[in-house]
């Protein structure tokens, strides 16, 4: 599989009155077409910064992001973002929210009828057809997030960026949303980068889990290849030893980082992410482990 998105050795510094603050150092990651990658790490470790750089909302201080051979310099619909707080325009209905995106992206290429069909198709995909003419304040948090996902999907992005998309939802709704997302993923085979702080979510959804060290100067600590067969079912996986091994691995990483936040990570080797689909199942592949 070819590399679709190349996050190439990015550093991110923010100017502060006390001099530049280094949020990210040498984050390097290659992502293939159709891959589902999650970024996990403690709060404030710079996960969101990575996502914002890929989205083009931030410009990396050093290094850069290359998407299908082109450098990312500004935000754009080919890198659609699902924000944590849904970010729907409160004065528009679910349909109109998606419509705004569709008109902007396909206004020149699709006829009115085609656009209408496409909007409805995407709302249907997230099971929101029944409430598409409701405003955000008339629907639940989970439904809002579904519309947010529909809006992002409707842009037909090359990469779908999700910033803790289910973080604000209750556990039951979150589980539903994860199942929905897996369904959609099976159908569309999108390339996804998702930020999460939920270990189960990461293992359940991802092809690869990118574990980030604590900031400042956060970087990639380990990358875990998740070779669980799809479709995945949360109940069956609960007793799956491999699943629990993956889970333990991520937990261990997070726990160690948490108890030893000052682990030197600055001279991290660039992540060699030559990850492809079928590696020997049953093994936990660590592409990089510089924690020791």
């Amino acid at each position: 599989m070819s590399v679709l998105l190349d996050i190439s050795h990015i550093d991110m510094e923010f100017p502060t009155p006390k001099g530049p603050f280094t949020a990210l150092r040498d984050v390097d990651l290659k992502i293939s077409q159709g891959e589902f990658v999650s970024l996990i790490g403690h709060s404030g470790c710079g996960k969101s910064t990575v996502l914002n750089v890929v989205a083009g909302l931030y410009q990396a201080t050093r290094g850069g992001v290359i998407l299908s051979g082109k450098e990312v310099t500004e935000p754009g619909p080919e890198r659609a973002v699902v924000f944590q707080n849904h970010s729907l325009l409160p004065w528009l209905t679910a349909y109109e929210n998606v419509e705004l995106a569709v008109k902007q992206v396909f206004g020149k290429n699709k006829s009115k009828a085609e656009m209408r069909e496409w909007i409805e198709h995407n709302l249907d995909l997230v099971h929101m057809s029944h409430a598409m003419h409701k405003r955000p304040d008339e629907i639940s948090g989970g439904m809002k997030q579904r519309v947010g996902i529909a809006r992002a999907l409707a842009m037909q992005p090359k990469v779908l960026l999700m910033d803790e998309p289910f973080g604000a939802l209750d556990a039951l709704t979150r589980a539903h949303m994860q199942d929905s997302l897996m369904e959609i993923q099976a159908e569309l085979n999108n390339t996804v980068i998702m930020i999460t702080h939920d270990v189960d979510e990461a293992v359940l959804l991802s092809d690869r889990i990118v574990m980030m060290t604590n900031g400042p100067a956060a970087t990639i600590g380990e990358i875990l290849q998740v070779d669980l067969e799809r479709p995945r079912h949360r109940l069956e996986l609960a007793d799956d030893p491999l699943y629990n091994q993956y889970r333990a691995k991520v937990l261990k990483f997070l726990h160690e980082r948490h108890s030893k936040p000052d682990v030197p990570t600055k001279k991290s080797a660039p992540a060699k992410s030559s990850v492809t689909s079928a590696q020997a199942a049953g093994d936990i592949k660590e592409t990089v482990d510089n924690a020791a």
Binding site: A55, G56, L57, E74, P75, G76, P77, R79, A80, V81, F83, N85, S87, L89, P90, W91, L100, A101, Q104, V105, R135, M155
Partner: protein
């Protein structure tokens, strides 16, 4: 008004017997209490008024003011009658002259009788709305521009902060002189006095709108701005689709504040500059100094208050109609 509010807040906390459910308690809260408040105020007013002696007689109580309302109404009717008679006479005279001499071009002369109270009210309303709309046309685009650009905000904010607290009375002489100097058409479309009042109103009610719009625009949820960026909305569409709707609640807050300011400023400007309107009515009555004057001024005060209240309610109704945020009150 104040008495009403105080009483209402005192009693709304009490548990009412659940005889008739919410209808009963709502009727008390919404009708009985306000009426009680107004009655209490009227009693207090008439009791106090009797004890105040002025050089123009006793301070008018509610009854005297009511009497003047009737008198003002009668005056208005008489004046309208006179006006109609005047135009009838003129028409008849012109018809007669045209009959005698077919080449005669009839001249129509306007009736120039004294404005009645109702005329003054209408003049004031037209002036305040014109001045306010002009301010809206300037303030909202300016506020949006300032809200979008931090640099522009830094540049313009000091000017706004300095002009905001200026009293209309300070502007008025300047406005009058400038209008006299620049507005010298031989056949003016509108009266100079109208322009003076209008511009003074605009200058004073501009600022709350500019500030509120700018704050509203600058405070838009960052995520919504990011949505716009991801969609690559062009600047104008960004303003139209994101900025304007997002700041509508704040814009309306500014507009309501401004309209209140505009109405207060207008009365003061009309009084000081002798521009037609309710302010002039008050000033004329004051100068007139008859035994009815105070009651007529009090009548004007009540009307001014009522109109101010209705303007605010009207603005709120408009906000509820236009804005997506239905929680305003």
């Amino acid at each position: 008004m104040n008495t009403t509010t105080v009483i209402a807040t005192k009693f709304s906390g009490l548990k009412l017997p659940q005889l008739d459910g919410t209808f009963f308690s709502n009727a008390i809260r919404l009708v009985a209490l306000p009426v009680a408040g107004i009655l209490a105020f009227l009693l207090l007013w008439s009791a106090t008024a009797q004890n105040i002696d002025t050089s123009l007689g006793k301070f008018p109580g509610p009854a005297a003011v009511m009497e003047q309302f009737n008198a003002l109404h009668d005056e208005h009717q008489r004046s309208r009658e006179k006006e109609r008679a005047f135009y009838e006479r003129q028409e008849k005279r012109n018809a007669e002259r045209v009959a005698k001499d077919p080449n005669y071009q009839p001249k129509i002369r306007a009736y120039t009788g004294k404005e009645t109270f109702l005329d003054q009210i209408i003049t004031s309303l037209v002036t305040v709305m014109s001045g306010f709309l002009l301010a809206v046309a300037i303030a909202i685009p300016l506020g949006i521009t300032i809200g979008l650009s931090q640099a522009l905000n830094n540049a313009i904010n000091p000017i706004i902060q300095i002009f905001k607290p200026v009293s209309p009375l300070a502007w008025l002489p300047l406005v009058t002189m400038v209008v006299s100097a620049l507005y010298t058409s031989p056949d003016p479309l509108v009266a100079k006095s109208f322009l003076n009042s209008l511009i003074t109103v605009t200058l004073c009610c501009l600022w709350p709108m500019v500030i509120n719009t700018a704050v509203g625009v600058a405070g838009i949820d960052k995520d919504l701005v990011n949505v716009s960026k991801v969609l690559r909305l062009p600047a104008l569409r960004h303003v139209q689709k994101i900025v304007l709707p997002a700041s509508v609640p704040m814009i309306f807050t500014g507009m309501r504040l401004s309209l209140g300011v505009a109405w207060m400023v207008l009365i003061a400007a009309e009084m000081l500059a002798q521009n037609p309107g309710l302010g002039k009515f008050v000033w004329d009555e004051f100068q007139n100094g008859s035994s009815d004057s105070l009651a007529r001024i009090m009548a004007a005060v009540l009307v001014i208050g009522l109109i101010g209240f209705l303007l605010d309610r009207g603005m709120l109704a408009l906000q509820k109609l236009v804005s997506w945020d239905k929680t305003a009150n």
